[in-house]
Symmetry: C2
Subunit: 514 residues, 2 copies
């Protein structure tokens, strides 16, 4: 069996059965092996950012890694920004990067590139296959490394001759490693802190912001008086009616510092101490006040949910202590078309089980508040700040959960980075509704320009912050890639089209002109 | 004066007066300084691949570097594949990458990234500014490093506080370093080789494939009997009526090995020994036969044109020895719409001074042959094999040469990688005609699949090589970004529209349905 086939079979044995790909010549044996290996679904992206972001969204929802396939260093380069987001989300990915044949790498060919150097900034695990015979074991190691926990990007560099050479047999099935249990001594220490009268803040991410973790954390908050928050950006937050709601840590450093000002204990659950997203000339980066002690209940990838439940046990927090979100679905909004009214109408129609890929950026208009009491749903955020993740993540989420409605809430500027995503949505007939907020501006840059006290932007600065000339026509872009699209210029039209999109299946784009 | 302003003024003093950019928060002071520094033209790309590729095309035509501006590691990551092409073209670029403030870099923020690690694979020069006071000197050093010769990507990492801090005064004007003169002893050695009866091949790139170098090389060929070729991929080839034509080294290794089989001397002019683009199981990578001696007349960045002329002098090759291309413009083609007939019609209407950005890939259909006798023009090729360079290079070429017609000959699959380029063409009202060859396929992958003997692709393989479902509508994509577009389904329509596009100014796209 050649290397490519053992690789694919080992991946499938390891539960990795979707491959997001944009291949080139050096990956042709991998591509050919797809015809011989049942159980691996190839999904093509016309750009590598689509591929990387889709793998991120997929694993957040499938709770297992997808494979990705790229062509040499420059191909991987195009995927790095979305892998950066995946790395921050601790998303598992088995990242296969084709490389020149081992004997060909020494030459200065046009595509010669240090593939490992390209992979290093985003990879938690990195290996270059040395020969076809080791490929099955390399593939198995990559799958195990990707799983973690915590998940990480495991990059396997695959010289072409390792694909076409004789490789023996694939590796047998692999099981993911389970999460490490938090030591009882740690639970005890944190319980003592929470039992004291000193003000405490609990900051959570990872598995702790899924339904079970939030339920336990809510019991804990009631029993201890601690303030419980989720990180500003979370890979997958479970929320809606019947679940325990959670407050988010604020985005800007002055707000974050104010929130923590009185805290004497900061308890971390699968996260790190909060810092400002960006630095500002006169504001702190480090937000934890002096005299506030930091405790780690669970490191990323540890069994945070069991630790939270053990903590509840110790503190005598009963099941009924949890705050449970009441159902509360607003009426569709009336009046002007604004981010706020759109948020209300989205909430009015959001179906149960929806997956929201949120890259609305400055157009959110109170979306989280409006949707708090909607039927239970998942919320995916941009975790690494690299714009352009919203549409690809929607692809991955929909491939992982074909029976659930995916809703991409997408700022127009950010949406252009991986606009090629629309084509994959059409090709795979994914059940995705994209709402584009067309404000014709890098509004966030205007906000930051203002926040930095830079005054009124002149012609030079506006040339890099306004995207109104020419105006993008998102309906044309969508149709150009095979996606049904509608231009929305009134709230009535939005209500009608959005409600219809929630009722029907298939990809669709609504361009909301703000 | 703050750092950002000294940076901009130092760049302008160094002749760098165009900045292709996609900025973020950490670059806001740079953006604001554009309002205070006359003489720097900011050009926005909605995606970083557009920015990097445009800088490549610009410098190839302007013979001086542009600046680029990116946002942290992930923003630069999106530009790496086009910088890879620029690196292979030895294109000068002053690459400014914004970074978190110096004191903020230590924290695990969402966008924390090892910017230098991102920059390293493509940068010939790399420095992180340590403080605002050193920024003017850092900027000057970056400009000098970018120039070379040979040109290279000089990456200056710019922490936000270096931009907003007090930096003193900008650096005075810089002059580019001139090309190093080739030693007379080298010219003598090569002259002796060429004067012998042993078969010799001269392989050229860089400045040697501009008009003067090709003229000298042609005299040399006639006088010595050596076979003179240009590399398969050249940053900028000058050709057409009145110039000396040159043969290109073939793309595939079997063809390259056959061409060199009898050679006893290989003479390199601003290039490296030829190797196969990709490796194949039963073909050589290294193409120079045993017993063939390799001589370097001029290393990249050395004064190759003067060296070629000195060689002519020694060998007694007179000005009249050069082959001069006769004008030969074909009639517009008639009949079916094919890559071949399109090539003929392109040649029929190509205006004098046109700049061709060639990413036609498998749809070239004899373009080089058809256009050989057209009025003089420049031909830009994809030098590093990273797809998606055609449209961005066209932008850069047009910004550099606003009075010349730019023609992007663009394969559809490759065109999607940086499709956002169309928007910048519209925004800057560039005089670019884009011809998209819509064959709905990664045809080159089909070719390579076949060349590797992998048989008939099945459903799995086709899922990653066919892009026909859904069909891209390039006219919709273009209109969505503000570019006039026409769908072309007959040769008559092509002849009419293309002729019209050559006569009028402004961006336009013709989707040729093959």
């Amino acid at each position: 069996m050649n290397g490519a086939e053992t690789l694919l079979r080992t991946l499938v044995n390891g539960g990795v059965d979707v491959c997001f790909a944009n291949p080139g010549t050096s990956e042709m044996h991998f591509v050919a092996a797809l015809d011989r290996v049942p159980g691996m679904r190839p999904v093509l992206g016309l750009f590598e950012g689509v591929v990387a972001g889709a793998a991120d969204g997929y694993a957040r929802m499938a709770d297992k890694p997808a494979a990705t396939l790229f062509h040499l260093g420059p191909g991987l380069g195009n995927g790095l920004s979305q892998f950066h987001n995946a790395m921050r989300a601790r998303t598992p990915v088995v990242n296969v990067v084709g490389e020149h044949a081992t004997w060909h790498r020494q030459y200065e060919t046009p595509l010669a590139s240090d593939v490992a150097a390209y992979a290093r900034p985003v990879s938690g695990w990195l290996r270059t296959c040395a020969g076809a015979r080791t490929l099955p074991a390399d593939a198995r190691a990559a799958v195990r490394a990707a799983w973690g926990p915590p998940g990480q990007i495991a990059s396997l560099i695959l010289p072409a001759d390792c694909s076409w050479g004789e490789a023996g047999e694939p590796e047998p099935p692999t099981e993911p490693t389970s999460r490490r249990t938090v030591d009882d001594s740690v639970v005890q220490e944190v319980a003592a802190v929470l039992a004291s009268d000193e003000p405490a803040v609990v900051l959570m991410n990872g598995a702790a912001v899924r339904a079970d973790g939030l339920h336990a954390a809510s019991r804990l908050a009631r029993a201890s008086g601690a303030r419980v928050l989720a990180d500003t950006f979370t890979p997958r937050l479970q929320r809606g009616a019947g679940r325990s709601p959670v407050e988010r840590f604020p985005r800007y450093p002055d707000q974050g510092a104010a929130l923590l000002a009185e805290a004497r204990h900061l308890i971390l659950v699968e996260t790190v101490p909060p810092v400002g997203f960006f630095a500002y000339p006169d504001q702190p980066s480090w937000l934890t006040p002096e005299g506030c002690r930091i405790h780690t209940l669970a490191a990323p990838g540890e069994d945070s949910v069991a630790a939270l439940e053990a903590l509840c046990e110790r503190l005598g927090a009963g099941p009924d202590d949890a705050v449970i979100q009441e159902p509360a679905v607003p009426e569709p909004a009336r009046g002007a078309l604004t981010p706020q009214s759109v948020a209300q109408s989205v909430a009015a129609y959001l179906p149960e089980g929806a997956i929201v890929s949120d890259e609305a950026v400055t157009s959110r208009g109170g979306l989280p508040e409006a949707t708090a009491g909607c039927p239970p749903h998942d919320w995916l955020s941009l975790t690494g700040g690299a714009l352009g993740g919203g549409l690809p993540m929607g692809i991955g989420a929909s491939v992982a959960c074909p029976d659930r409605k995916v809703l991409c809430l997408q700022a127009d500027g950010a949406g252009m980075y991986n606009v090629q995503s629309l084509w994959t949505m059409a090709r795979e007939r994914l059940d995705i509704t994209v709402v584009v907020y067309a404000n014709r501006s890098y509004r966030i840059l205007h906000n930051e320009f203002d926040r930095l006290g830079l005054g009124e932007p002149g012609a030079g600065a506006r040339a890099l912050m306004d995207i109104s000339g020419p105006e993008l026509d998102w309906t044309a872009l969508a149709r150009g890639m095979g996606v049904e699209a509608h231009r929305i210029e009134s709230l009535d039209a939005f209500n009608q089209r959005f409600a219809e999109a929630m009722r029907t299946r298939g990809p669709q784009l609504l361009e909301v002109v703000l």
